[in-house]
């Protein structure tokens, strides 16, 4: 099997190299800056993601949302024979977690809101927020935190955010509205949805022990 694998991988690499060697000369690029201006952005990538190819981005968001559903359904099935050992908790860790919370949220918000001007956008912002929140939560002890969180509210916020994005997309694509305000709104909604999703997924991975 190893021989066959090596042969096919080598052949694949050879084919790809052959393909790359033939990729020149490259076609002319359309003028990107005008597209960005038309959508009210300075970052052309943001104009593409939230404007020209918003239709793709919708499905990307759905990929993410369906993964969350899958993780929820999948990790609920587990039967833990033994509870997990609690995460070590020290007062110092808890204090610094409280202190870090503010800056992290502000930074993530900045990444989201400025996404149409420079590098950034809803997805990285949401990922940063979700990951950082869970790290802080682990420092504080997941058990206590999950008791404090109102799961249905989180679910409402998550699906509400996606439906709002869908509605916004409908408005942008079907009615032809454009402008930086829409881009900021879309980025913030995406960041919200991604952050909640990251939080839910990681939280499940960290603490699920199955209700079956």
């Amino acid at each position: 099997m190893r021989v066959l694998t090596a042969l096919s991988l080598l052949a694949l690499a050879g084919l790809l190299a052959l393909g790359v060697s033939g990729v020149f000369p490259r076609p002319e690029l359309p003028s990107a800056d005008e597209v960005a201006a038309e959508w009210g952005a300075e970052n052309v990538v943001a104009a593409i993601i939230l404007g020209v190819r918003l239709w793709d981005t919708l499905f990307e968001i759905l990929v993410y949302a369906m993964t969350i559903v899958g993780v929820k359904l999948g990790l609920r099935l587990l039967r833990w024979e033994r509870p997990l050992p609690p995460v070590a908790e020290t007062p110092l860790l808890r204090r610094s977690a409280d202190l870090l919370l503010g800056p992290v949220v502000v930074f993530a918000l900045y990444v989201a809101v400025s996404g149409h001007l420079g590098p950034g956008g809803g997805f990285p912002a949401g990922a940063i927020l979700g990951t950082a929140l869970l790290l802080l939560a682990l420092a504080k002890g997941v058990e206590r935190l999950s008791a404090e969180i109102h799961e249905p509210a989180l679910e409402w916020a998550e699906y509400g955010a996606i439906v709002a994005i869908l509605a916004l997309a409908g408005g942008l694509l079907l009615l032809g509205r454009r402008g930086s305000g829409y881009l900021v709104a879309a980025n913030v909604l995406i960041a919200l949805e991604v952050a909640i999703g990251a939080w839910v997924v990681l939280h499940r991975f960290a603490s699920s022990r199955g209700e079956v």
Partner: protein, 270 residues
């Protein structure tokens, strides 16, 4: 230039990660690879991709791997082959310690994987984080630097003399501590026994379990035996694997209380 250097680094990290033996190192390596990849994107004039790669490809992915590993990782056992405690039986591992280790694996939701090594290597591998548990009739030396479980089976250290000559033991064993400084060490008990039989050494220090096997099989006919004091077989646990040690101790205590341990000893050792 920066791209070329970073590319080489990225590839090296990927190769490093994927050739590791321990999953944890693999995950950490792939995480580092993702981060280096984000650097490559930055130099390829793709700052958006770099940021997303760092936040999602590096942050979320590594985090989720680590969380998944926490409950599904392999329990790597390094051991010297010691029938009837732990030995390879055809395709499978068998023995008294195997019964306990496989129970431990089930409890921790981790696959147990046994790697056969020499006795002297066990503490080094555990300290380096290459393995979680050391086993195979482990008699700890005082300066091992590993964490020990509760005693599993009590035994004694015995010196057997067959003729004139120096004294030998297995390297890395507690028995090594009982020897005079000029003595000879061997890699495993089989070598020790054959050296004793061939007259290469005149005396051997070993645990009672091995000595009994030698005597029962007629391999060694001692002319004189000396008692070297009490000892106990234990499991060694890598420092830092506190939950493994706790689970192991709890399991051993439970087996002892229910009498299961005594039954196992009767079945395997008699």
């Amino acid at each position: 230039m920066a791209v070329i250097l970073l590319s080489a680094l990225t590839l090296a990290l990927a190769v490093f990660a994927l050739t590791q033996r321990r999953l944890l190192w693999g995950v950490i390596g792939v995480g580092a690879h993702s981060l280096a990849l984000a650097g490559v994107y930055l130099f390829l004039a793709a700052p958006d991709v770099a940021l997303t790669q760092a936040a999602v490809g590096f942050g979320l992915v590594t985090f989720i791997y680590l969380l998944a590993l926490r409950r599904t990782g392999k329990l790597t056992v390094v051991a010297a082959e010691t029938p009837p405690l732990l030995h390879q039986d055809g395709e499978h591992v068998a023995g008294l310690e195997w019964e306990i280790l496989s129970r431990l694996g089930r409890q921790l939701h981790r696959d147990v994987e046994v790697l056969w090594v020499t006795r002297a290597e066990i503490p080094r591998l555990l300290r380096a984080g290459e393995a979680d548990v050391g086993a195979g009739g482990y008699l700890p030396r005082t300066d091992d630097g590993v964490v020990l479980s509760r005693p599993l089976i009590p035994t004694r250290i015995v010196a057997v003399r067959c003729g004139p000559g120096p004294c030998g033991a297995v390297a890395g064993d507690r028995c090594q501590d009982c020897l005079p400084a000029s003595s000879v060490t061997y890699e495993d008990h089989r070598e020790l026994a054959s050296a004793l039989r061939s007259g290469e050494i005149g005396e051997a220090v070993a645990d009672l379990l091995h000595v009994r096997q030698w005597v029962l099989s007629g391999e060694v006919q001692p002319s004189e035996t000396k008692d070297g004091g009490e000892a106990a077989f234990r499991f060694a646990v890598a420092p830092g694997e506190e939950d493994v040690r706790q689970a192991l101790d709890a399991l051993l205590a439970e087996l002892e209380r229910s009498g299961e341990l005594a039954r196992l000893i009767a079945r395997y050792i008699g």
